[in-house]
Symmetry: D2
Subunit: 451 residues, 4 copies
């Protein structure tokens, strides 16, 4: 059975673990070998019968994937025992065909391309989960477009916005992430095929043609040249996954904070044993956010290792490529785990509008200090208005009186303010619903997809 | 005087240090304040006279940049003392205008946009140095297109390629880096303007119009919305700089290795005190490669910090934004230092074709083992041919005899080989110039720019 | 004027920036040169008069530190221009003495030892700030030893503990950090002196004696041998600074969370313009915690770079040492900034016992579910008791009734519970003060220093 | 079957993968549960018969480890399904005993302690492999104590040392690493037992006694208090593993460089299919060094994640702990893989003394320039001597003449030099064996163990 270490699995999904496991890896490598033989047959390099025999043998279930992986550790590359096993399997049915297994290729060609194939499948899963997340959040955003909610800066209440506005700020980076991943994948999901040192010397002048055919067969981009030690396109894709995890981490952080008992504005779905505690019967832990945050903590270092492994010696590196090979699946596993966890959270997210309102009200109008200050600034000048509101804000806290009341008193006590600012205007500065509607309107424009 | 710490300066350039120093930062912030006032005047929010007065005061040389930076540490943001100083400066000439300083904006708007402006200037310098590097390397590649040179894998000799082919593998990622940086910058060089929590609430319904005007004034992209805690576009640009440094690091690693006395195939430019030793009179140290490699070691962690800082709480983070602000200039300083150092190395790079040839010859034909194996495989089958060459390669080393000779003997001793493979074909498999010409031809196609 | 980049300064202290600035660096290097000359004079290698002349010239204010640093970038090491300038300065007064400047040493000897000296001074400042932090927190812990406060797990209320217990959990890692830093410094604050390749070949058989004398003169440990490319002791010290920043970051995270308006249990000191907002008059931002958290985000990557730079080629690395040299001061600046920021926060920390109590009371006894479950488990078995309390906890939330009441009802409805558990015992399970006193007692034992 | 992902296995050992696999993890957790029950029985909290029944059930082979790990992902912690399964297993034989399973404990207690136990076993394997490595290298160092070999700085030849001296510089950090790991483990291998929030509230006043008993039963240190969110001791151990990998990486880097065909001074053991190539029959790749270097590239980021995960909220973190749990085994797997790979390399390391000598001789005495300069400096002054040797070094290269010859000519041409320096002294400056013997003598002192 294929597996990752227990706590790597904990932060990922079953599909991801299988997708980068030994069996999948071996199957992808075999797919490359089959495509390579076929392409060379089409170019007249390899006998067609040999290509057919090789393709027939390229079934992972016929090989002991665990054994091949283990033997690879001795040989220095998993391709050597695989090619040996494949050659034997082909020879058993068609002895002459065996001579054409892995023809013209090198270990890195097969392994890199296999990793590209595994990654392509993983990106499809990620894209689907992103789509699910965006749809769920958008639905919440529409339903609560104008529901008043605190905006918070430096973990302090700042102003009133709306749930729609808040959620839009989560959604927009995910929409951008899908597009950026798509673009980066378009470039990075390319065939690796260069032979021993990138010249495809064994193939003479048919190297380019073979590259194009193998790429077409596997549905991958044909590269400009081998990228054995030019990992920029590949690592750039890895970076995008890092950026995605950062955006997911921001959402999970916010949800975890909003789910605090003292805030209580949002809650993760529960039920079915989700988020319990082995000690405390009352606990409903936000375990989806927990997984996303854990991944968001680990992913930056995954990306750093990919970058650190870019300087690879000459035409094949001594260690850096192997470090990248180990790091990449970990990056993908984390990204899959995070996006799936967030998709589940988004689908079942609870939004408590009443609690949002009571958290606003508990502040006694303090978060409208800037609005009032702006209003007064037209009369008093900005510094004086800022200083006045600063003083009123302090009194609001100390005397537990609504800032609106204190602002009205201040207006009453100042002839210039009184004549320039009418009562309704001052009331508007403290209008919770108005502030939320304005934020909701901003969100509305951007929630409407443009393509 | 603006400065970075000594060893940060050591790994960067004078221009980069100035470009992210206190004076430049303050000037960029003032540029934002001036553009903001002008845009709001054009929208009729701020009196035109006030905008003129503010613009007139926005000259960094009139402020004590060091003092403002120091005071920012107490206030919690450098924008507070700057706005205070600017307000005072404006008030000194036009008291009512002072009320409109920083109107509608928040600290992060000004600081983020200032960092965008400093980064834009830095990217121009990086692009120029990349251009210089690519041009120099391309020139060497053309001059030595077919010069035979060893390709090496896992730090062992692998096959013969050409200098042109080798250099192309350095150039291609730099060409791609320029394009990717250009694309990422197109997205990331955007205005930050959202007011306290991203709604531009102070500007009522003219927020969008002001954003478009300020962006146009500063020559930046108008964002879809504030990105106070949505750092994905920005960090994606940071990632591209990380990828660039990885590609630069690979080249510097190769040069350092090729410059070893025992290899001696390339050398950095020397003279003018460059690369001496305080102890050893004979030393000519590859100090350009040293700088690039040092940067390539540090940069992955810079990028990791940017990614780690992406999860920022709610509408403005508590600490993560500040971490990003400190990390970003370090990233840029390193990238500028590395690309300038490599540009200098590329311009004066020495290529020793004779030494390259003698390193090939010293191997007694060993690196043609695959070519010979491929030739024999047509007759013996691949496994038998690989095993035969494996044996001959061992003898070549043990008996210090040319592999070509041993291969001819092997052919002579096997009737099937003798009849199927003629002497010239076997000689060709060991032909250094032929191998180099083939590699050179591959390089030629790709050295010809396509746009 | 010495300076770091603006946002590096923002996250550090004036003393730290000066301590690793060009002037300090040059002075430390000069101190090494003076000590080296004196030690060699004492061993009869260098004329005493030369040592005296050299020592007299070793005053940083006589040199243009900025110029030397800038020239170092060309030479490849800052030691070359410094040695040149020092030689000229000595020659101006005592021509023959100039011949003995830097005798037997190499650039890395002087630079590494200078960095050790700058670090020693930095560690003294860090230790003092840690002492101040621990004292302030201990004083709060004693004053509020038994004040009830919520413990929280996964950002959810868990149980009642006391402020004393909470603070102890902050203090203990700081006490351990001081001890670990002391131990690591004892090993790592060692002289670097090996000459060109670590053999001190110029000094013949007096190398060891010179090492011991120079070390004694500078108050540093005499190393077992040169550590030019054996950075383990040094990086181990860097790791301890990383661990310290992690512990500081945990405290700042907790304070930031406790200072949320909706929690309101603690607050940073304010006043004097501290923690204001350029937009919002009412803001009191926790800027001390902000700085600590920013540093805690950056530091792990500083440590990673030190570790990544450990593999250095042969007897002096090509780039990795230079990366370490640049990274180390950044690590120290951050650590100093964080510990000083936290010391200020700790000194002025506000603790709101009433708010802590009202946050407990708002939960309607939910956090005593485990205590009640434990009590019932003696009768019902653990699973049944856990399930019962799980049900009661759900009703407590849904019906907004105190869990204590519901528990008493459940006891009343079950004959076995009624006979085995008396009313007082069940009341005790919900006793806030009792829970706090027990936690306070635990803290008491550990607050009493053992050495 | 337990497994890590294929390329994580590739860089580790079979024992390490098993040691941190699901079965081992479950067994360690069961060991904790058994010890906990026994300790509480000894304290009279739990019936002795229950403790016996629990201990009898605590056998991993009776549980479906993979299933439990998978269910943990839903529950949010692997402890919940394990405790459930264990409770059922105990109940099947002794229904009342089931009530006492996991009594007083929380998930994190069991999981952290299980990780401590797995780590203890891993450290034993690491220590043994380090011992093996040190022994093998020491044996080579003694055998080649005085064998002349180039020292190299910045990848350029610097001076002549000896193989003994070179190897000592590899050995010393490994000896220190063993000691530091031992010390860090002494502190970090401690029991975790705090109950829900660290107060062991369920155990009343017998918490401390239970902690001491469980610790003794498991052979772990009894902690001063729970360390649920105080990870400093634990992460400090992780840092030491990072430092170890850095020291291993330096050795592997040197070996990889020395094994280059153009240098040829050392070679890894080969044979048994080790280090072959799927394309090139002649390759003997240094695959041991490759593995060590790959690990050394990844490990710094593992450590960074541990540090980044230190700031954990309140009494149990939301995500950071889970990140640490996933990262830690990866760190250990890498460390085990690297140290085992290097142990194998060290045991079979080939040292080519003849090639070392010919590499020295090929430099025509250039590396003795400092020695000659030092000699001449006594007469000419240091600057003049350095300049003279600089000139002679250039001629040595340009004219391909031995530097010794040129130095003798220079002496002959200068009356002062001629009278002050006799011919033998100048010859000595160029004496390869003498330089090697002096370096060997330095090594000798330190190779003799002091404890």
């Amino acid at each position: 059975m294929d597996a990752a270490l227990p706590f790597d699995r904990f932060l990922s999904t079953h599909e991801a673990v299988l997708g980068f496991g030994a069996t999948a890896l071996i199957q992808h490598m075999l797919d490359v070998e089959a495509a390579l033989a076929k392409a060379q047959a089409d170019e007249g390099i390899v006998p067609t019968s040999a290509a057919v025999a090789i393709a027939a043998a390229c079934r992972a279930e016929r090989f002991d994937a665990q054994r091949i992986v283990a033997d690879g550790a001795v040989a220095g590359t998993v391709a050597i025992p695989l090619v040996k096993a494949l050659t034997a399997a082909v020879a058993a049915h068609d002895a002459p065909a065996a001579a054409w297994v892995h023809w013209g290729s090198t270990s890195q060609d097969v392994i890199d391309t296999a990793m590209v194939l595994a990654t392509r499948a993983s990106l499809v899963r990620i894209d689907a989960a992103l789509d699910r997340t965006i749809a769920a959040l958008t639905s919440h955003a529409r339903a609560h477009r104008d529901t008043p909610m605190l905006a918070r800066t430096l973990l302090q209440p700042a102003q009133v916005v709306s749930v729609g506005f808040k959620l839009l700020a989560w959604i927009a980076p995910l929409v951008r992430a899908r597009r950026r991943l798509h673009d980066a994948a378009h470039t990075a999901l390319q065939l690796q095929l260069g032979g021993a040192v990138g010249t495809l010397s064994t193939l003479g002048d048919r190297g380019d043609a073979v590259v194009r055919r193998v790429a077409a067969e596997l549905g991958l981009r044909a590269p400009d040249g081998a990228w054995h030690t030019q990992r920029d396109d590949w690592v750039a894709l890895g970076c995008e996954l890092g950026v995605l995890c950062g955006s997911l981490g921001k959402i999970a952080l916010d949800i975890g904070l909003l789910a605090q008992a003292e805030v209580g504005e949002m809650a993760e779905p529960s039920g079915g044993g989700r988020g319990g505690s082995s000690a405390m019967p009352h606990k409903r832990n936000p375990v989806g956010s927990m997984i996303v945050r854990a991944v968001a903590l680990r992913t930056p270092q995954r990306v750093a290792t990919l970058l650190a492994a870019m300087p690879q010696e000459h035409e094949r590196g001594l260690g850096a490529w192997q470090a990248e090979l180990a790091e990449w699946p970990q990056l993908m596993l984390g990204a899959e785990g995070a996006v799936h966890a967030l998709a589940d959270v988004a689908a079942g997210l609870s939004i408590d509008a009443a609690r949002m309102r009571s958290n606003i009200d508990a502040l006694n109008g303090l978060v409208f200090a800037e609005a009032a200050s702006t209003l007064f600034a037209g009369v008093l000048g900005k510094s004086a208005a800022h200083a006045l509101l600063d003083k009123l804000a302090k009194r609001c806290v100390a005397e537990r009186r609504p800032l609106r009341e204190l602002a009205h008193e201040a207006r009453g006590a100042d002839a210039a303010l009184q004549s320039a600012i009418d009562v309704q205007a001052l009331d508007q500065a403290f209008d919770v619903e108005l502030a939320a509607r304005r934020a909701g309107a901003l969100a509305e424009q951007r929630l409407t997809p443009r393509s």
